[in-house]
């Protein structure tokens, strides 16, 4: 663990940026068409519950990293094994996000630039920030959050004033009943992006006070859930279900549809800035969790020593993990949620919490 402290405001901002990440830009919960916003709102409830699980674990061991308290909960050998698996999980998902980031840029603005070059530049920035530590990352988050907020507000004003939103596109509500939505929640939206909050268990020990973490955390999860639901509803309102579910990046097409007064148009740059800021924080937080986990598990005194080699690992993993964007998306949305996200984000933390609860009871 590095010697650093972050404030509760910074945690709030980090959670919002992390949740928005790439989820705002990709078609989220489009399987349930016009009810996608309901699916996202429902999964927000699940997200809050998961957040409380992670928070409880933190409260049991407020001053140590999960890689440490796994060993206290389930014993040294098993705990170390588990910690190592989690580190792999963090590395893998930072690589996966890096790939998504590169692919989105490649599809949309840099069709002739090889993927690896886009990814290299992102990795350089991420490694540099993570080397500087969590404090720098959090302060950057505070700064860029204002930029993103400004973009969202002006973007919303532009979309609504261009008269593109057709609220009727959201009807009929619950066309096929609630069951497809629940299915969608438990196979997709609960894990991406809400279950990914697991990464914050690696951040909690750096908080300068443990007061208000619960309330602020829950509020930020709910806010980001509402934000995502609103984004999904906006895309469907502008594009209609058929187009929104068929476009790779509905938000991009929504922004491109804006035409006001013959000159306010082609606002793709809004999408680009949101993409770069959101993906940067998501990659950086996963990457930071991996770096700090490795240095904690293998007793490396300077966490920054790990970041360069790990940067290379993430870079090459991101290139290697899929042969096409379709494969990447299919893995991310169809295979991984149940194969990896479910055990790592839900099952293991809950089991650990139950064990910790009983151990704690015995001690008292």
């Amino acid at each position: 663990m590095e010697k650093a402290k972050i404030s509760i405001t910074q945690l709030f901002v980090l959670i919002l940026l992390f949740e928005q990440g790439d989820s705002m830009l990709l078609p989220l919960a489009m399987e349930v068409k016009q009810d996608s916003w309901i699916s996202i709102l429902l999964s927000t409830i699940g997200g809050v519950l998961l957040f409380l699980v992670y928070y409880r674990l933190y409260r049991y061991f407020p001053n140590v990293l999960p890689t440490d308290y796994f060993q206290k909960i389930v014993g040294k050998v098993l705990g170390k094994g588990l910690a190592f698996l989690y580190i792999l999980y963090f590395v893998y998902f930072s690589a996966r996000l890096l790939r998504s980031f590169g692919e989105i840029l490649g599809i949309f603005v840099y069709p002739f630039t090889p993927l690896i070059f886009i990814n290299i530049f992102m990795v350089i920035v991420v490694v540099y920030t993570v080397r500087k530590g969590i404090e720098v990352l959090s302060r950057t988050a505070e700064l860029l959050f204002i930029v993103l907020l400004f973009l969202s507000v002006t973007g919303l004003i532009l979309v609504s004033s261009s008269g593109l939103i057709n609220i009727h596109n959201l009807t009929p509500v619950l066309e096929n009943g609630i069951s497809p939505i629940l299915k969608n929640v438990f196979t997709e939206t609960l894990y991406i992006p809400f279950g990914e909050l697991i990464v914050f268990t690696m951040i909690f020990p750096y908080l300068n006070s443990s007061k208000k973490v619960k309330s602020i955390g829950v509020v930020s999860v709910i806010l980001s859930g509402m934000n995502l639901a609103f984004g999904a509803a906006l895309n469907i309102g502008v594009l209609g279900t058929h187009l929104a579910s068929r476009y790779q990046f509905p938000l991009l097409t929504t922004m491109q549809s804006i035409q006001i007064l013959q000159f306010l148009e082609r606002l793709d740059v809004y999408f680009l800035i949101a993409l770069i800021i959101g993906c940067f924080f998501k990659i950086a937080l996963f990457f930071y969790a991996a770096v700090i986990g490795i240095s904690d598990l293998f007793k490396i005194r300077e966490p920054s020593q790990v970041s360069y080699p790990l940067g290379f690992v993430v870079l090459f993993l991101s290139i290697q993990m899929a042969s096409s964007y379709s494969e990447q998306l299919q893995e991310e949305l169809k295979i991984l949620p149940l194969a990896i996200q479910l055990p790592f984000q839900v099952i293991i933390p809950i089991l650990l919490l139950i064990i910790a609860f009983f151990k704690n009871k015995k001690n008292h």
Partner: protein
């Protein structure tokens, strides 16, 4: 210290890369495409299904003609190529154009009537929608009774680039008259894929000679010998053009789609034909779908507000009750236009108004039974209620027309 120098040099060197030299395009290497025309190939010799014609801007000449000089060469040039797919055809054009074609400013797509009738528009739009360079906000028109290539070849006098001419014509005609609909690529694709809705696209035709229209002399004449004008709305069914709506019928479409901003409506008064003209200032049309005894009922309600714009007969406009009577006759006339459009669409068995979509949104369960043969059976049978409320708010600068004085003499 060493570390700092290393980072400084790293950052400075990355500036070199992030300037975007990777896929740099110099402005004088770009051929800015302003319009994209798609035809069906008719000749036997040139095998291939599609003929793609690009309208490319000659930058120097556009600027030159604005300053009054120039004009020695036309502001646009067109290039044609033939292939089985749109993308291959447009790529192959690089053999004919000296520069790299740049589609980000293409704001008009013209499709020929022949292609739309025989093969439909479903196959030609994918390449355009998929490309990151091409904008989905590009507008679509159909070349009525003409080749799409000929439409983009015409030189137009006021707006030098004819794609701008087409776009502005649509925009202002929609603003002050109706009878045309401004649709872009996104709208067309949305209407194609949405069950219970069919696309409508404005048609453009060539007036006069197409050969003379593409010559520079065309714009040096006060009355261009070849010109283009918006002409009717093309009606589609399952992606294929099946008919045209003109005049009042096409304005009926504009009313129902709530696309009218302002327009003018003439009505008869007593013996006089088209004696009073209604200047519509604003209107709002709402379409609602209900189910009554298992069959769909569509109600169209239009609220119109406006002034009296022209009077050709002796009539007492300062009298309130007369105005009420006039309002009634306006209502009747607008209702007639709407009903005519509905009747035509029913005859064509194509739900261009999106009534089916309204039924689906209001009654998703019943819609499942209707969806299968909505266009053929249920839409033509559907009961459609039209109600119009017209208000005359003002009568312009005069009260009674001077015609009243003349007649009373």
């Amino acid at each position: 210290m060493k570390c700092k120098t290393f980072f400084l040099s790293l950052m400075i060197s990355s500036i070199l890369f992030i300037t975007g030299c990777w896929s740099q395009k110099e402005l004088n290497d770009l051929a800015i495409v302003s319009a994209f025309a798609i035809d069906k190939n008719e000749s036997e010799k040139n095998k291939g299904r599609y003929e793609v014609t690009l309208q490319v801007i000659n930058p120097g000449n556009v600027a030159g003609s604005l300053q009054g000089g120039g004009g020695q060469t036309p502001p646009i040039s067109t290039y044609t190529s033939t292939a089985n797919t749109i993308l291959i055809a447009s790529r192959e054009l690089s053999k004919k154009v000296s520069r790299k074609r740049y589609y980000a400013h293409t704001n008009l797509v013209v499709i020929s009537e022949k292609l739309a009738r025989e093969e439909g528009i479903t196959r030609v739009l994918d390449a355009i929608e998929r490309s990151p360079e091409f904008r989905t906000t590009a507008q679509i028109v159909i070349a009525h009774n003409a080749k799409a290539a000929d439409i983009v070849k015409i030189l137009t006098p006021i707006d030098k680039i004819s794609s701008n001419d087409v776009i502005k014509t649509i925009k202002f005609t929609e603003d002050i008259w109706g009878e045309v609909v401004k649709v872009n690529l996104q709208d067309v694709i949305r209407a194609l894929v949405t069950p219970g809705k069919e696309p409508v696209i404005t048609g453009f035709r060539i007036l006069g000679s197409k050969d003379k229209g593409s010559k520079l002399e065309n714009i040096q004449d006060t009355k261009p010998s070849g010109n283009i004008d918006a002409n009717g709305i093309a009606i589609f069914k399952e992606g294929k053009l099946i008919g045209w709506f003109h005049n009042k019928t096409s304005r009926g479409v504009s009313w129902i789609l709530n696309k009218i901003k302002t327009t003018a409506v003439a009505v008869d008064w007593e013996e006089e034909k088209e004696a009073i003209v209604y200047n519509v200032i604003r209107q709002k049309t709402k379409v609602k779908a209900d189910m009554e005894k298992g069959s769909p009922v569509i109600s169209i309600h239009t609220e119109v507000e406006g002034d009296i714009g022209e009077v050709n007969t002796s009539i007492k406009l300062s009298d309130r009750d007369t105005l009420f009577k006039i309002e009634k006759s306006f209502e009747k006339e607008i209702k007639e236009e709407i009903k005519q459009a509905v009747k035509q669409a029913k005859k064509n068995q194509s739900d261009i108004f999106g009534f089916g979509e309204k039924v689906y949104r209001a009654n998703p369960t019943e819609w499942k039974n209707l969806e299968q043969d909505w266009n053929e059976v249920h839409f033509p049978k559907a009961k459609i209620r039209v109600s119009v409320e017209a208000f005359v708010r003002r009568t312009g600068l005069t009260k009674e027309s001077y015609i009243s004085d003349l007649e009373n003499k």
